[in-house]
């Protein structure tokens, strides 16, 4: 392939830029490779979760009682931990809230593709409309996550009794909620990984929203129309879909399995 290229293009032009390897522009290619490296980071976090889960004692109905009870001794069943929904205090609705969050993120991914599609048609009004919906979806997701974190940190109405070693002897202690050191839902590592994984994902959503706002602003100012193409929408779109992709994995491995 290289020989064909050198025959057709003078070496000055070949090394002076303007060539598109793999028929993708520089920005798009670099976005893909950045996302690949980001995928490695998220994989490392999720696999660490798997390692710790495999290495810990898990809840077993035969051993720990048929009805699930929170304890710091064994890894919990996620559907019994994530069962709270805003405005329904004390009502157990397993995985409902996280289901709503998943729907919001998939939906905002759809509005993002619609924005990209509108960009291909040079339809400025449509790009603006769909970018606004995408930004709204992102902000709603972040709001949901803020509520979920707040609930996770403050804990349930009844505490978990934990055995702790203080001043040379074993005593019991009531634990409400979770932080990086203690955790009422299970082993401390369960809370640590919850904060790290959903937090790192939330940071990505947050920066994605900022990028989307930037793209929306540039679109309204007619920057891309003057440039002649809406490739910027496509590149930021790639990032936004990646955030959705990561959530699909977080949803499965943190909430379902």
């Amino acid at each position: 392939m290289a020989t064909v290229a050198t025959q057709e293009i003078s070496s000055k032009k070949l090394w002076g830029g303007g060539m598109e390897p793999m028929k993708a522009s520089y920005g798009k290619l670099m976005m893909w490779f950045f996302l690949l490296s980001d995928a490695f980071t998220f994989s490392a976090l999720l696999i660490t979760y798997g390692l710790n889960r495999f290495g810990a004692d898990a809840y077993d109905p035969k051993q720990h009682g048929a009805e699930f009870k929170m304890s710091t001794d064994y890894w919990p069943v996620p559907e019994h931990i994530f069962d709270a929904v805003p405005f329904f205090h004390g009502v157990s609705m397993p995985l409902v809230f996280v289901g709503i969050m998943t729907f919001i993120l998939i939906m905002s991914s759809v509005t993002m593709v619609l924005a990209v599609e509108a960009g291909h048609r040079m339809d400025r009004n449509d790009v603006e409309k769909w970018m606004l919906w995408t930004i709204l979806g992102g902000i709603t997701f972040l709001g949901c996550q803020a509520w979920e974190w707040s609930h996770f940190i403050h804990g349930t109405d009844t505490p978990t009794i934990s055995r702790v070693f203080v001043n040379g002897q074993w005593t019991t202690k009531e634990i409400f909620g979770a932080n990086l050191i203690e955790n009422q839902y299970g082993p401390p590592l369960f809370a640590d990984l919850f904060f790290f994984i959903t937090g790192f994902h939330g940071t990505h959503v947050f920066s994605g929203v900022l990028l989307n706002i930037l793209i929306f602003y540039n679109t309204t100012m007619g920057v891309y129309e003057r440039r002649g193409h809406y490739e910027m929408v496509e590149k930021v779109g790639l990032y936004w879909h990646f955030v959705d992709l990561v959530w699909v994995f977080v949803f499965t491995f943190f909430y379902l399995v």
């Binding site: 290619l29 390692l51 069943v77 040079m122 002649g228 193409h229 499965t252 379902l256 399995v257």
Partner: protein
């Protein structure tokens, strides 16, 4: 490609083509359907290896649709598709290595004697 988009821009000033969103919405319904099915399985099936395998399989199907359709990797050059897909072999290796490691940590902690 650059000249192609400029031509598009010039024609766009006259009239904007109609949206082509059939594939996008089809992908959306597939993603939503799989997620709904995941919920059904989560509440009806007993915990076990089979359930986990079904969840992992469904996640991979969802990932395929997001990457292929939404991120449009399907429409890229073959070389680009492979340069994104092949490095994920390292992830598969890490999954196998660390889950086995986790298993042996479990053995050491609870079946030491």
């Amino acid at each position: 490609m650059a000249t192609e988009t400029v031509n598009n821009a010039q024609s766009a000033q006259k009239e904007i083509p109609k949206p082509q969103t059939k594939v996008i919405w089809r992908t959306f319904w597939i993603l939503l359907g799989i997620t709904a099915l995941e919920f059904v399985i989560a509440f009806t099936m007993a915990h076990g290896t089979l359930r986990v395998s079904i969840f992992v399989l469904m996640t991979l199907v969802k990932a395929f649709y997001i990457v292929a359709e939404f991120m449009h990797l399907k429409g890229e050059v073959k070389m680009l598709i492979w340069s994104i897909l092949i490095p994920t072999i390292f992830v598969i290796w890490l999954v196998i290595a660390l889950l086995m490691e986790g298993d042996s940590i479990f053995e050491m902690r609870f079946f030491n004697e």
